[in-house]
Point group: C2
Chain length 350, copies 2
């Protein structure tokens, strides 16, 4: 093996050209093959200790850092996970995004973010995902059966977050039980005239909560429920409250399928319609989002266990990245009833 | 050139091995060199039309897609931009994140997300950034001069968002003028006893607003300002309001350096201390965040032009990715005074 030459001249050449030093530069200066340099920086690759030491010395001197992309091509792992999130104006979304990215970063995995403006834009991002060779995907946006099948075809592990598909593993909050409990509490407290503020029809979670509320009411003989469709935003909840009162004249309780719309409804009821909450009307939401717990609202709602759910989603994904044959599994987490002051509920049984 | 063999058998071999087809598979089946396959999918590379057609046909048949990572190694562009965001409980952060990622996605650039729990964690992510070969970085977290210098050394274009450093281009809202205008309005309306809710000392924007408020008050001969440090959260604003009143007995106005703390202070003032806002006390914030405009708060604040600022940040970054020699440039956007009902202000001059 030739003695390494003085590296100063060569290093400055590399710099003058205005490019980062490559493994070829290291190889040339150290007098070894480029493949030796690659092996030196690859996991589990064999290389003689003396050669390894020489390469590391030259690499340090000329400032060569093994390229994560090049390493990914060798190891077939990129340590990047794509996150598909639908940015429908849901208060709850930034919290989920922050929690998921924190959980992934803790495990030294980077997040490639795909923020959709509508759930139906998924197709546009899938092609991007195949091309970026991510290790796996967590989707909090709805995927069709055909789209789920594409993941299997491309051998990209997938975990759904608060969405469901038979062929893919998923982590969800049990919206049905949560909404049912909440509505039963309202019934127990004597509410009979109900209004419902629903979400967009193409949103799985919103629809699940809506159906759970309506079927629980129906089982108690209440089928005449005033209903307005919102888009999960504060503004739409605010407008829906006005529409509900115009339609119905008098309501005992309004069920919004998310917290943000419930907050909008509360402001409309209190500030515009001059209703006393909860004396004149009870208003409930779903999510347990931060602002819903602020003093001005203190919203009665169902809190999703975000920490546990994001932790489960990340664990399930990593398991599937490491073992492609792990079967689909559905994990369903119970929500926690938050007894705020925005609604009269049945007596709590402790 | 040999006639391509029937690809069925080879394709199923590829599939049986449980791996994605590679450029080598395409080369073997098409009877061409791997470098020809690479050139076929690389931009601006020359290849004979007939050969190109054959390669594309085989690639389509066996489901080969050029790997984004491999292409990045050829083109030296990854179309990935890293976003460093500090997740300090600032209401304003999800909006900035959503806007930046939307602006980047519109330009077919993917976002690699680094969400810091504290601004001081930047060092940990920089090494990750060098390794991931991103095209550029937008940082909404503070960087030291030494950290900024590392970007130049690694030849990674950088744009700072609401942060500043002499050697790096930046996009900022003019916090100093905005805060000054707001405080002058409070002075014009006759407020004399002031409380201030500051942010964490290591947060650049919070400190800038704090200093602007204090110096404006000082220029009007008001130096005795009660001050409590918060952490940008609702909870800390709520607690700070209680502490300020215990310290001072009576205040005319409370200036919070962000909206979320102002909202917490409003709830404490109204619900706990039974103060009438703005008759007994004026409360102002800064950011123009969504919830601050909800009916229950209608906060007097300064709105950052997020859309324009994120657009400018992305444009500046792309310019620097395409031309590494573009000099540092500071872009400063004026904020818009939001005259909510949470404060008595001077008469508006139209």
């Amino acid at each position: 093996m030739p003695k390494p030459k003085t590296t100063k001249k060569l290093t400055s050449n590399v710099m003058e050209k205005g490019r980062r030093p490559t493994s070829y530069d290291v190889a040339r200066i150290a007098g070894v093959s480029q493949s030796a340099v690659s092996r030196c920086f690859a996991a589990n690759a064999s290389i003689a200790p003396a050669k390894r030491e020489l390469i590391l010395k030259v690499a340090a001197e000329i400032g060569y850092k093994p390229n994560a992309l090049a390493q990914a091509l060798i190891s077939k792992r990129t340590n990047i996970v794509a996150l598909i999130i639908s940015a429908q104006t849901n208060l709850y979304y930034p919290e989920v995004l922050a929690e998921l990215s924190t959980r992934l970063n803790e495990r030294d995995i980077r997040v490639l973010l795909f923020a959709l403006s509508a759930e139906s834009d998924v197709d546009d991002v899938l092609d991007q995902i195949w091309r970026h060779s991510v290790d796996g995907v967590i989707s909090a946006a709805r995927l069709s059966a055909a789209q789920v099948a594409l993941f299997a075809e491309h051998r990209v592990p997938l975990v759904l977050y608060n969405r469901v598909a038979t062929a893919a593993p998923s982590v969800r909050c049990d919206s049905i039980s949560g909404e049912r409990d909440l509505v039963e509490q309202l019934l127990a407290a004597g509410h009979r005239r109900f209004g419902l503020i629903a979400g967009p029809r193409d949103n799985y979670v919103g629809e699940e909560r809506r159906m759970a509320a309506l079927s629980t009411l129906s089982q108690s003989g209440i089928d005449d429920v005033a209903e307005i469709k919102g888009d999960f935003s504060y503004r739409s909840g605010h407008a829906a409250m006005h529409e509900l009162m115009q339609q119905s004249g008098k309501l005992d309780a309004v069920i919004a399928v998310n917290d943000l719309m419930a907050i909008g409804a509360m402001d409309a009821a209190r500030l515009d319609l001059r209703l006393d909450i909860p004396k004149d009307i009870s208003i409930v939401g779903f999510d347990g989002a931060g602002p819903a717990q602020w003093g001005s609202y203190d919203l009665t709602s169902v809190r999703q266990p975000v920490r546990r759910m994001t932790d489960a989603a990340v664990s399930m994904l990593i398991e599937r990245i490491e073992d492609g044959s792990a079967p689909p599994e559905q994990r369903l987490f119970a929500g926690e009833l938050l007894r705020g002051s925005s609604a009269r509920l049945g007596v709590e049984i402790v």
